[in-house]
Amino acid sequence: MNDIAIGWSTIDAPCPPDIGRTIMGPLVILSLPSEQARTPRMRMQQQVRCFEFGTDLLPQAPQMMTIQREATALADAQTPQLLEGLSRIFNSGQMTLSLGVLPTIPCTSTAPSHWLRDRQSQRARANATAAQMTQAMHDLTHGFTSCSLSQYDHACGSVTCDVLISRNAVAVTRARIAERAADLPQAIRSLHVTGLWPAYAFANLHTPKTELVPA
């Protein structure tokens, strides 16, 4: 019972034969022996393998190490939420887009008056870059129905967007993004498109509410 859960699926979904399956009503918990899932990257590799096999998978966050018993408790407590999450990502995965510029150069002035002025202008430039990057990402992903856009990361000079798409729309989506990429502002130095991933960014569960009854 020291198996590590890597996600949830439905009872009728295909699954690699070496992945453990624990059936709980309409849900299946997918798991692996702990030695095959020791690190976040190992867990992610197994989730990707399941996804590429054709499993519709609501992935456990790879950073979290969840033993089978905890996953069972969650499935018990949140069956409707897990099923709702699985229906949201049915036959779909996420494509992850990342736009990058050169990171903001920190100001080096030491004189107090110059330092403040330099910081102000640096902040103004950074805000302008963030707005430009966010707008560029909106233009790039315009028309996609399910998008999860990250905040602009000033330190890395990047903004990331996860797009939920059908498994059979990968080529069309790549072509559409490549076409739109031609119109990106010149300040943008890079565009990385990766996927198709399990739908990590679309696997949120909603916490059930607890109603207090007034005395």
Binding site: R41, D162, T194
Partner: protein
């Protein structure tokens, strides 16, 4: 524009792809301690914390 499959991205040395994969590691389902407090269907307070449920032995093994 650079395209990469998940396998290529996970094995890449390119800093941007490494950052991108690291970002994904934090997504997905997390076990979340949370409680909505509401009265007469009016939400008043939400208490929430992300938790790691594991044994001390396993935590020591991860460190």
């Amino acid at each position: 524009m650079q395209m990469a499959s998940p396998t290529e991205a996970m094995g890449a040395a390119d800093g941007r792809l490494v950052d991108l994969v690291d970002g994904l590691l934090n997504h997905g389902v997390v076990l979340r301690g949370g409680l909505w407090l509401s009265v007469a269907e009016v939400d008043l307070v939400f208490l929430g914390v992300d938790v790691v449920l594991t044994t001390p032995q396993k935590m020591r093994g991860l460190q």
